[in-house]
Symmetry: C2
Subunit: 403 residues, 2 copies
């Protein structure tokens, strides 16, 4: 077990957090040898020795003394270029870039195999909560049935301000941006894509199957309004943005990201503010719940540190479940019960509900509750993305499986 000499790409808040955390971890036997940034002259709160910073990627990639790349740049293309270049040189990488990983995971797995090296990315899903590692190692068996949770801290913070603190949605979003929980362009978080990318990564380690982003129904919270919020409150529920992958039979599983009506008896009901919470359900052990800080520079940095130390012991993901017998197949042929709030008399015409069990029409608030195939929701994506429409899942049916 040698010293880990790190080449760090990216020195924003997470990169600076990593610099601090590695400095505190004497038993990591790790040292940051070089830091590659886009702009050398940008002011930074963390001071580093002269000569540590460079704006030339090759100063790291070509340095034979560097035996681990840590990559936390905030640009998916740059991330892809750096990670694949490093892997092709046989240098292991720790990355936190969920969008890049979720889009390119099959290729990244293949590169790890071909060049006999490792890519670790526990920080990419749920910040400091060790979800990926546990799915890969501890839940490495046939018992796993479902992984479901709140995977995005920013949108959860906003919903939490709305439901627990009676703030208006717009004010909550603004506050989240001020606190740094949401980006200046918050669409990645609030439209569900951040949760989606994490769910894709989780599914590879949960069931051994990769499903690409465009195949998965993803709906965010951007269009929620005060009627939806009041409606949920009257039923003593909260609306949460939930990502889930669920085995619906021995042969099939489904997955999606959607706002959900959550009753107080559910574990995820109490996951508030910027926290993440994941429920892992399996035969025999029923439900386990993991909860922690899902966002923030230091929680993410602590997760990166765990991956760095795992490399000291040569740890790599084996993607064991990809070699399982009888892996379940991805399916959208399942029926969900949903709440759909809409505007306009003819809006529902193109939406193939199997049945409607509740309908409300008034001057300013129309909604239906009914059953619909997930495949039909996918097909109606365009129509559902109308800014005057809001859709949410009502756990039921196969989701009777739900906690």
């Amino acid at each position: 077990m040698n010293t880990i000499n790190i080449g760090l790409f990216g020195f924003g808040t997470v990169g600076q957090g990593i610099y601090k955390v590695i400095g505190r971890a004497a038993n990591a036997h790790a040292e940051i040898k070089r830091i590659c940034v886009r702009n050398l002259s940008k002011p930074r709160t963390v001071e580093v020795p002269a000569g540590l910073l460079t704006d030339n990627e090759n100063d790291i990639l070509d340095d034979p003394s560097i035996n681990l790349i840590v990559e936390v740049v905030d640009n998916a293309e740059a991330s892809y270029r750096i990670v694949t270049s490093a892997l092709k040189r046989g240098v292991p990488v720790v990355s936190g870039n969920k969008a890049m990983i979720a889009r390119h995971l099959p290729e990244l797995i293949e590169l790890q195999r071909r060049y006999d090296t490792a890519l670790l990315y526990d920080a990419s899903s749920c910040g400091s909560i060790p979800v990926i590692r546990n799915l890969e190692e501890y839940y490495d068996n046939d018992l796993l049935l479902e992984v479901k949770g709140i995977l995005n801290g920013s949108s959860n913070y906003i919903l939490s301000r709305v439901f627990d603190h009676n703030e208006e949605y717009a004010a909550a979003l603004e506050r989240a941006q001020q606190l740094g929980f949401a980006e200046s362009d918050p669409s990645f978080d609030i439209e569900g894509f951040d949760s989606l990318f994490k769910l894709i990564i989780i599914t590879v380690h949960a069931l051994g199957v990769y499903v690409s982003p465009e195949q998965i129904f993803t709906y965010g919270i951007a269009t929620i309004n005060s009627h939806d919020i009041r409606h949920a409150r009257e039923k003593r529920m909260k609306i949460k943005l939930v990502a889930q992958v669920v085995k619906v039979s021995d042969e099939r599983f489904t997955m999606f990201v959607m706002p959900e009506f959550v009753s107080p008896s559910k574990y995820i009901y109490s996951v508030d503010d910027e926290y993440n919470g994941v429920v892992i359900r399996g035969e025999c052990y029923d439900r386990q719940f993991m909860f922690g800080k899902g966002a923030g520079a230091l929680p993410t940095a602590s997760s990166i540190l765990s991956d760095v130390m795992a490399r000291r012991h040569g740890y790599r993901y084996e993607y064991k479940k990809m070699g399982y017998m009888n892996r379940p197949a991805y399916s959208t042929d399942v029926v969900l019960r949903v709440y759909l709030r809409y505007t306009g008399r003819d809006y529902l015409d193109g939406i193939p509900f199997l049945n409607i069990c509740e309908m409300h029409l008034s001057e300013d608030f129309n909604y239906v509750m009914g059953d619909i195939r997930l495949s039909d929701l996918l097909a109606c994506r365009e129509q559902l993305s109308d800014p005057r429409v809001f859709l949410a899942n009502i756990p039921r049916f196969f989701l009777e499986l739900d906690e």
Copy 2:
């Protein structure tokens, strides 16, 4: 990765659970080759093929085709004999016997090193929650500050019936026994020893230090009465049996098992019934919470399955933190604030409180709240074990560190 041929010791409820779970896990590539029981003619609910059962330990230990021993006998001496015999033959072992492991861990670690083999025991602490593995691997760094939780499902079930369902303590205990959550002799659970043994194992993997049982202050819930319960309720708190190990400085840590007044804002407040919940606190990531079924044959069996599958990949605990620089030292020189309910005018005389901040005297209910050194509680163990006395921790002081 070869097939795992298991020799199973013990075929009570947990052993039978393992038999069922392994049968369901096709991708485990594991098979139970032989089962050693004490009494061949005892009736069992699970039927097994003729010839699988034996009452001769050597039928397993001497069988060269068996490459993993799983040991779940309910007797600590037999467990010690089986585990050490197997390790000395170089055969890896999965065990769930927390009492045996907690008492003999230094020797068991040495045997694993000397005979280059492995002993896994994630099932020994918190049933199905992967606490040990995560402390060993994921929290393998200098950031960890505290592990605190409800580690015993039986006592928690009883307290839960009392606080959430208004049952009398005696009725709740009886119900727990009927449901199989508590043994016919429940002292192991309700006097805190089960939690203690788990805490000892957790501490080895959390901080790399072994502390033997007799050095650790352990107080259970056996003497709780209706006054204590009403007192807690009036303050809108629950009393829970809590085990904790806490770094009190860079150089020192402390640990103990004690009933604790828990306020609704704490994660462990909502850990009810037979569930376990563990809070892991560290620099940077703050608090993480893991929650799941802590007791029961199938949850324990699912945890054993995780250890069995880990052996397919050659996994072993490296006890990495035992080799850390600057390991903290165990100390009882910390001050706790406690609640002490007692009987008899002179009872308090021998108890060296540093100060008393509240005192209540009435015909049938006397208590004090005050500050006392943990070392003095240890020294007064005898006096505190009076059946008319009940002691509970009130988190404060260094436990301001608490969530």
